[in-house]
């Protein structure tokens, strides 16, 4: 394989203090890491062609490819913690040639093995294999069982193409591939118009954001002279406010962030994610909670120095913080009024993505990615738990559930662990990552004052983030009580899901407990060190010790949310349902209508473009442009008649023969059959001759 490599570049980047840190190049494991994206990709194609004929109907290949990634990712993950791996491989697949300034740009497939990529390999592989296991049970008897796993494997491959990308172009490839997989899987039950519409909505909203990603990538690539992250980082490391990259960095940063807002569903481009719940639940767990939607956060992490080095896109950070904060708070509130349990979790995911983005904006590389890491486990767990419940009661609505803890003990316990982890209760995973985000926002308030009023903004953000923690605990308490407590309100007799579904729940519950322990400030900093392989992002703040006061405030907010929820939804189990319908005037309808954003997009943008605008263009085509064309045709017909008359009257010749046939009408039908085209041709040639004569004479 190594002969195929155009280049394999182990490189070192400056640590925070400017000293070079020596990393391992990962040896043979890194050299062969191209298998990580390739194996699921090949599996996807193999399932399409041979899945139905294979013994496990395609599930085996999909699962096997994910298991391979999980094992490979785990080995790399631990190797990276101990050694710190930085490796970049690339295969040249062509060249764009030079731009208008004479810089030449190659095109490469490549694979990156560094802290950030390895963390993603681990998450995608481990969560992926658990979700694929679960899906075997959940999708049993599905009408398109094999196709489902082909699409799911395609997603896995696309996601790994994305996170292994050592350059922006490949990142875009992976980015769009997961988009397609998402479209396929959201619209899995495409018999229903609503589902295919949800799929299209997801694709189009992302495509809008992708315009930003494309433009951002183009600006960064052309200004830095390469699409490779390593080169871009070098340009940034050299600094210099007068580099081309620095000149364009604000708009490039905004454009890239718009791209990230699409995949990571940031306000106001978040509207696709709740609708995406139309897909089967394992899809929601893996793609729309744990991995795909974190691609935007990943991208901000990948380009972190670009956003965090003075003179580059650091001015964009305040936009990032504001968008992230709006997202984390506004979407969290909607989770309070949703009846569909998957929608509750979807809005919760939006809110948590808001936390991650806020952290990135606040310059907290490790904190943002750490939350991505822990969230992947507990949110996947919650979705799978919800799926287990849905599987049992055949409804998504919590108004059809209730009291399920008696029927589904394992689902109940694991769901509880996931909820507590999400709420941020000590010592579960969410506690550590949320605390680190709060700490870094606080730190940002004290240290970044590049923008006017930066400190005030950061403090405000901190307050909102803490309030968000309260809301998170509040809506999860509601979801837990409506689903598992009170009396069962649905039809039939719910029962626990089969082992193939509950074991992954237990596995994810385990991760939801321990995932936070690899990054305890002042005690264990495995995660920080592992992620720092490649660079310690400039400006990244990792607290040296637990910020006790913040940890207490954060925990109080979460506990407060649980207590408040308890009093509203638990207090009297008999009237639970009625109390859920409590209405706050103005606010409740606003939340139920999702702030009217969907309505605005649909009625204000999509319908006008598809309707009047498109029709106007079509009309213009037929009635304005063709008016000229047909008018000319009419004129030409008249001239032709004149010529014909002239011809008949004064010229003896071959044309006489057709006189009888053509004498009647000037209809288009006749034109073809009687050879009047030849007359046109004659006219045109005659005109040409006249014009040529004109050219030659003058």
């Amino acid at each position: 394989m190594s002969s195929l490599l155009a280049s394999a570049v182990p490189f070192l980047l400056a640590a925070e203090d400017g000293a070079k840190k020596v990393f391992s190049d990962g040896g043979v494991l890194a050299e062969w890491a191209w298998l990580i994206p390739v194996v699921p990709m090949v599996a996807a194609f193999a399932i399409v062609f041979f899945g139905k004929r294979s013994p496990l109907q395609g599930w085996g290949m999909a699962w096997g490819s994910m298991a391979f990634v999980a094992v490979y990712g785990t080995v790399l993950f631990f190797m990276n913690i101990s050694d710190g791996i930085v490796y970049e491989g690339a295969v040249a697949i062509g060249s764009w040639g030079a731009d208008g300034l004479g810089n030449t740009f190659g095109i490469e497939w490549g694979w990156m093995v560094d802290g950030l990529s390895i963390m993603m390999y681990f998450v995608v592989g481990v969560v992926g294999v658990l979700v694929f296991t679960y899906a075997k049970g959940y999708m049993e008897g599905d009408i398109r069982y094999t196709w489902f796993f082909a699409s799911f494997a395609l997603f896995g491959g696309g996601m790994l193409v994305l996170v292994s990308a050592p350059n922006l172009v490949q990142l875009i490839v992976g980015w769009e591939l997961v988009g397609v997989a998402s479209w396929l899987l959201i619209g899995h039950y495409w018999e229903d118009h609503e589902n295919s519409s949800a799929a299209i909505k997801a694709f189009l909203v992302n495509k809008v954001a992708d315009v930003g990603l494309f433009i951002g990538a183009i600006i960064i690539g052309l200004s830095a002279g390469s699409f490779r992250f390593s080169v871009i980082m070098d340009v940034i490391a050299e600094g210099g406010g007068d580099s081309t990259l620095a000149q364009f960095s604000f708009w490039a940063g905004v454009a890239i962030f718009i791209g990230a807002m699409g995949k990571s569903a940031q306000f106001p481009l978040h509207v696709w994610l709740p609708d995406a719940m139309a897909g089967p639940t394992p899809v929601s767990a893996l793609m729309h909670a744990a991995t795909m939607v974190t691609a935007g956060v990943y991208l901000l992490g990948r380009l972190f120095p670009f956003f965090n080095t003075p003179g580059f896109a650091d001015d964009v950070r305040w936009i990032i913080i504001i968008i992230g904060t709006l997202t984390l708070f506004l979407t969290g509130l909607i989770a309070l009024v949703a009846d569909d349990i998957k929608k509750v979790l979807a809005y919760s995911t939006l809110s948590q993505l808001g936390y991650m983005v806020t952290a990135m904006g606040a310059g907290a590389y490790t904190a943002g990615l750490f939350h991505l890491f822990t969230h992947a486990f507990f949110k996947a767990l919650l979705f799978l738990g919800a799926g287990s419940v849905i599987h049992a009661v055949h409804s998504n609505n919590m108004s059809d559930m209730g009291g399920l803890r008696k029927y589904m003990p394992q689902t109940y316990w694991t769901f509880m662990i996931g909820s507590l982890a999400l709420a941020g209760i000590f010592p579960l995973a969410g506690f550590w990552s949320k605390d680190e985000i709060l700490a870094s926002i606080q730190y940002a308030g004290g240290n970044y004052t590049t923008a006017q009023g930066g400190a005030e903004l950061a403090n405000f953000v901190l307050v909102v983030a803490i309030a968000g923690a309260f809301v998170t605990a509040f809506y999860m308490t509601r979801a837990v009580s409506l689903t598992f407590f009170g009396e069962y309100k649905g039809d039939g007799h719910p029962h626990e899901s089969p082992k193939v579904m509950t074991y992954p729940l237990i596995g994810l519950a385990g991760f939801s407990v321990v995932a936070g322990w690899i990054n305890i400030p002042g005690v264990i900093k495995w995660f920080t060190d592992a992620l720092g392989a490649r660079f310690l992002a400039p400006g990244d703040h990792h607290p040296e010790s637990i910020e006790i006061s913040l940890a207490i405030i954060g925990t109080l907010a979460a506990v407060g949310g649980i207590v408040a929820g308890y009093f509203i939804w638990f207090a009297d189990k008999d009237t639970q349902q009625e109390r859920d319908k409590f209405r706050i005037p103005l606010l409740y309808p606003l939340l139920e209508k999702k702030y009217y954003i969907d309505d605005f997009y649909m009625n204000g943008i999509v319908k006008p473009i598809r309707g009047p605008v498109a029709n106007a263009v079509d009309w213009f085509n037929g009635h304005v442009i063709d008016l000229v064309i047909n008018g000319t045709g009419l004129g030409a017909t008249r001239v032709a008649k004149l010529v014909y008359w002239f011809d008949q009257r004064f010229v003896d010749g071959a044309i006489n023969a057709s006189a009888a046939a053509t004498g009647e009408t000037g209809g288009m039908l006749r034109l073809l059959q009687t050879g009047r085209v030849q007359q046109y041709a004659f006219l045109i040639v005659a005109g040409t001759v006249v014009l040529v004569a004109g050219f030659i004479i003058f």
Binding site: S95, G97, V613, N615, D618, N630, M668, V685, I696
Partner: protein, 523 residues
């Protein structure tokens, strides 16, 4: 040098189909099998030869004309027009594409003869068309180029006019009610013929007024001939521009295209989209830029603006279509807009992107027209609203349609992406001296065009493929794809994937040739 490399290979590639046409015509009308096999044989050998040429081609010097004839092989002595043919990295991919699509069209036609049948005439026309298309891509003399360019016109005219759609339409303004095929055929003919006339005018002006007194592209290129034209140059370029732009087609000269595509029989649409549209863009790269570099730069903003108008306009028009073929036709206007945007930047990236965009569009849109044709063959309608649930009735057809629609919207990893992204990429840093603000604005607007493209294709898929099939198809014998269809389509799917994963298949040929080409701008 062997005679194979010395012009004979290309001559065979160009003229074998013509010989084949004569052979087909010599076969008695009743022997349809013999006619089909003869057509396939001649087109096949021509294609295989082009593949052999592609393998023997020296990619190390892709900028040089290879496999060419002696430069002094006189054709029409009195006007110094020579039989001068040859290929470089720019024409090679298009030549191979042309042979490829011809062969697939003949295979597809095996059991898909449009009314009024007559395989003999139809195959002969395909073969004549092939000669015209191949010839255009190898011609190095303007008169030769013009002749091949025109040879393409008649077979397509007859294909549309005789085998086309027989539904009645009322022509606005003229107020005539006629069959679609007749209106479309005449519109197609007159538009392109007018364009050709202007183009010829430009060629003649170049011959007489530049002082070169030659139609050789090599002799005219480099800017010297253009300089000699003086103030006339702008008019000469305008003539060439309109001539080429009609063929592309560029807004606002595109209105023949939707009608021609909608009316044409399936194979006609396929070849029209896959190859004929490329003749115009190819001519920009082959003739307009090297011969008139200064005017090309002056006109670049106009080309760029019209290209981007085409992208948005074509996409919006797509959203309004209710007829599947017409929708795909308008999508060509949008896609060719990306190609022209790339050319308008006058940079290596832009022209490379344009070339790979041409190849990709040829394959992908060709396939879309194949599928649309097969679907209307079965459903006897192209009306999108009636086709819902196709995925249920014909899973494989639906699957291939889905794949192709994804390729058409420029999905990365498939062929269409490189041209589309490359065009946007090139617009950020256009050739020095061009207005960067303008081109960057065009880049952003073009980017929005990709969203619209996703919109019309996905909504088309939703309406055609998804949902439950309409009750009206119950009891109809709607069989899924047959063997001939697969034989014609699978190669296209494979090539779409191959170029998507390994774009060097095209870039490897075009790269050096394009970087040589842009030296004409003095870089």
């Amino acid at each position: 040098m062997s005679s194979f490399e010395n012009g004979w290979a290309l001559t065979l590639i160009v003229f074998l189909p013509l010989v084949g046409a004569a052979a087909v015509l010599a076969i008695p009308k009743a022997q349809e099998e013999a006619q089909k096999w003869t057509a396939l044989l001649f087109a096949g050998v021509s294609f295989v030869l082009s593949v052999i040429v592609a393998f023997q081609f020296d990619y190390g010097s892709a900028e040089a004309i290879q496999f060419g004839t002696r430069s002094d092989l006189t054709w029409i002595g009195v006007i110094n027009s020579n039989y001068s043919i040859g290929i470089d990295g720019i024409s090679l991919p298009l030549l191979v594409l042309s042979g490829f699509m011809t062969v697939l069209s003949i295979i597809y036609s095996w059991n898909h003869w449009p009314e009024p049948h007559n395989p003999k005439m139809f195959s002969a026309l395909i073969l004549v068309l092939a000669t015209g298309m191949n010839g255009t891509f190898v011609a190095l003399d303007l008169i030769l180029f013009f002749v091949f360019f025109e040879v393409v016109l008649l077979p397509m005219y007859f294909m549309i006019g005789i085998w086309g759609d027989r539904n009645k339409v009322t022509v606005p303004v003229l107020g005539i009610t006629t069959e679609m095929r007749l209106y479309a055929a005449i519109k197609f003919f007159l538009f392109t013929f007018l364009g050709s006339a202007l183009m010829l005018l430009g060629f003649l002006a170049l011959y007489f007024r530049s002082g070169v007194e030659s139609f050789s592209m090599a002799a005219l290129s480099g800017g010297g001939a253009e300089a000699a034209l003086g103030s006339l140059a702008v008019w000469v370029f305008a003539a060439l521009f309109i001539g080429f732009a009609v063929k592309v087609p560029m807004f606002p000269l595109h209105t023949w295209l939707p009608d021609a595509h909608t009316a044409a029989p399936t194979v006609g649409s396929v070849l029209l989209a896959a190859i004929l549209l490329k003749l115009g863009t190819y001519a920009f790269v082959r003739i307009a830029i090297p011969i008139m570099p200064e005017q090309a730069q002056n006109w670049a903003p106009v080309i760029g603006i019209l290209a981007v108008i085409g992208i948005i306009y074509g996409a919006l028009a797509c959203l309004a279509q209710t007829d599947m073929k017409r929708l795909i036709a308008f999508s060509s206007v949008a896609h060719m807009g990306f190609v022209m945007l790339g050319i308008a930047t006058m940079t290596e990236i832009g022209i490379n992107a344009a070339l790979i965009g041409m190849v990709a569009h040829g394959i992908i849109t060709g396939l879309l027209f194949f599928i649309a044709g097969s679907m209307s063959h079965r459903y006897h309608t192209r009306e999108i609203a009636r086709l819902g649930g196709n995925q249920k009735l014909m899973p494989i057809m639906g699957g291939i349609l889905g794949f192709t629609a994804m390729a058409s919207l420029g999905l990365p990893g498939l062929a269409g992406f490189w041209g589309e992204f490359g065009a946007l990429l090139s617009a950020f840093n256009p050739l020095e001296g061009l207005d960067t603000t303008l081109f960057r604005t065009l880049m952003v607007i073009g980017g929005i065009g990709t969203v619209l493209a996703a919109g019309y294709l996905l909504w088309m898929l939703q309406r055609v493929n998804f949902g439950e099939p309409s009750a009206e198809w119950e009891g109809h014998d709607l069989h899924d794809v047959d063997g001939y269809e697969l034989a014609a389509w699978v190669p296209l799917v494979v090539v779409t994937l191959a170029i998507g994963i390994y774009p060097k298949i095209v870039f490897g040929a075009t790269g050096d040739a394009v970087s040589e080409l842009v030296k004409v701008f003095g870089g």
